[in-house]
Symmetry: C2
Subunit: 143 residues, 2 copies
């Protein structure tokens, strides 16, 4: 364990793909995928395409995005942008504004076309960088 593995300590994210969606601005996006969000394309970059091997239409996966429009200097918000709600620490909310604005999106893979996945429903806006794809551990519970 004493040796440094390649790239291990670096906290620099390298996007593995990008969301292509009809949603063009944050103001028009639903707050969660289950709240009427559309399907979208996930275009995986060529360097990472081999990592898709084994993913199939019908799979439930978690997409991790980098919410590039988020503010990183906010620690308290009104949940769901509702000012009637009390100011709450961002770690007790799902606000996109947070020190490391990683988005979690549970979606279904609709189809796989080479390095492109049709996925949904997903509230991420067009151009959102994707940093990871993970299978669900079970259909019902974990994540």
């Amino acid at each position: 364990m004493g040796t440094q593995r390649k790239g291990g300590k670096s906290g620099e994210l390298r996007p593995i793909g990008v969301i292509r969606s009809a949603l063009k601005s944050r103001g028009k996006a639903p707050k969660q995928g289950a709240e009427g969000a559309p399907d979208a394309w996930l275009e995986v970059r060529s360097f990472a395409a081999d990592g898709l091997d084994g993913l199939l239409a019908g799979d439930d996966v978690i997409i991790l995005t980098w919410l590039h429009r988020a503010r990183r200097d906010v620690l308290k918000v009104h949940a769901r942008s509702d000012r009637r709600r009390p100011l709450t620490g961002i770690f007790a909310t799902r606000s996109p504004d947070r020190p490391n604005p990683v988005g979690l999106h549970r979606v279904t893979v609709r189809k796989v076309v080479k390095n492109r996945l049709r996925i949904g429903p997903i509230e991420a806006i067009d151009g959102t960088p994707v940093i990871d794809i993970k299978p669900m551990l079970s259909r019902v519970q974990d994540f």
Copy 2:
């Protein structure tokens, strides 16, 4: 939307805390929290402590970590390190080795002591950087 919000486009992660655990090496850690992992402390850095406001003992949350011992140059693995399983794209597995080694850990908050959370069960090893804490959207399903 034309202006750049502070820090928004940068993909540089800034850890908000660190795991303090009796698990000291990756080889001894369970592969998932539900597989016999212990409780641990999450020490939140002072700059982010205000973000904890509203988190309570008993809450189910998702901890996002940066798996600093992972390899980032791997695209196919044998799932669960079992060589009898076929080589599979890492996006169809939960292997820690992946281009952006973000770990997802569903845990229960046992107690909150100022800027420290007692959480578990969690398989992350001692010293693992924490990048986010998110509440579960529901007790049963989403993430």
